[in-house]
């Protein structure tokens, strides 16, 4: 194929092309070289290059897809986390409210129990005080009676003579009769 081309170039050089200032031989040779190079490139280089580029493109596309997926997953995870957080907050609020209610109930119960206990203690103290007062009254009454009896006895022993005693006995007999 090269030989007819050179022949054609040799023939052409003598014709009008050379009149344009173009070296036909050189042109043909360069064309052939170009074609050879083009062939080589298309046959061995371009496919590999294209494959490599395609692989890279695919890799990039995969990466992008992966990134998109990751982002979506992240968004979903964030949404889910938000939901979980909200639910947890709601649950925490409920638990807090329940705990507060329970605490108030416990405090109220405690106050009631304390109040009852206080009332009971006061009642017991009052009862004890009443008993003590009664005991003191009784003791005082006893002591007073003893004092009166002793004093009366002393006075009577000093003052009661035989005549008065006789009158007393007569009156006693009348009372008995």
């Amino acid at each position: 194929m090269i030989l007819p081309a050179t022949q054609f170039a040799a023939e052409s050089s003598s014709s009008g092309i050379s009149s344009l200032g173009i070296n036909l031989k050189s042109f043909v040779f360069q064309l052939i070289t170009f074609l050879i190079v083009l062939f080589i490139l298309r046959r061995w280089v371009f496919p590999k290059l294209v494959a490599t580029l395609e692989a890279r493109r695919k890799t990039l596309e995969d990466s992008l897809n992966q990134a998109r997926l990751t982002e979506e997953t992240l968004q979903k995870a964030e949404a889910k986390a938000g939901e979980i957080l909200q639910a947890a907050r709601a649950q925490a609020d409920t638990a807090l409210a329940e705990a507060q209610t329970k605490a108030e109930e416990i405090i109220a119960k405690g106050e009631t129990a304390a109040s009852e206990r206080g009332a009971r203690i006061i009642a017991e103290a009052e009862e004890r005080l009443g008993k003590e007062r009664e005991k003191l009254h009784s003791e005082l009454r006893g002591e007073l009676a003893e004092l009166v009896a002793i004093t009366t006895e002393k006075v009577l022993r000093q003052k009661l003579n035989e005549h008065e005693d006789r009158v007393l006995i007569e009156r006693s007999l009348k009372e008995l009769g």
Binding site: R141, G142, L144, A145, E146, V148, A149, T152, E153, L156, R157, L160, E162, E164, D165, R166, L168, I169, E170, S172, L173, E175, L176, G177
Partner: protein
């Protein structure tokens, strides 16, 4: 009579006394019973039982009168009349007992009855009531 109770002995003695049996004879009989039944320590109690039996039958009451001063004859008569009426007996024997601790008033005790109108009793009542 060895197996007789003190109460039965008292009834027997009262019967004998009221039937005008001599007192020394009755006393000897009772003493024999008490000795044979080894109850000589119950002699005073038996005498008291006899007094109680005689009083129960309305015959005689032995009244012990306790006072702080000696009772006049008039007062003794009044006491005797009172006991006759109250114990419903025909005869009263008065035994007087002087006890300064009674302060004033009189305490009369028979085998079956007791009346205490002494001042010491009244003072004790005051102490006990309070």
């Amino acid at each position: 009579m060895a197996g007789l109770s003190r109460r039965q002995l008292a009834v027997y003695a009262a019967d004998q006394l009221l039937s005008s049996k001599p007192v020394p004879a009755i006393v000897r009989e009772l003493a024999a019973v008490l000795i044979s039944s080894r109850r000589t320590n119950q002699a005073e109690l038996l005498a008291s039982d006899i007094g109680w039996e005689l009083e129960r039958r309305g015959e005689i009451a032995n009244a012990t009168v306790t006072a702080a001063h000696q009772l006049s004859a008039l007062l003794q008569k009044e006491v005797s009349a009172f006991v006759k009426k109250s114990a419903k007996v025909r005869q009263v024997i008065i035994s007087q007992n002087i006890d300064r601790s009674v302060i004033g008033g009189v305490r009369i005790e028979t085998a079956a009855h007791s009346w205490d109108k002494t001042l010491s009793r009244k003072l004790t009542d005051i102490r006990e009531v309070s």
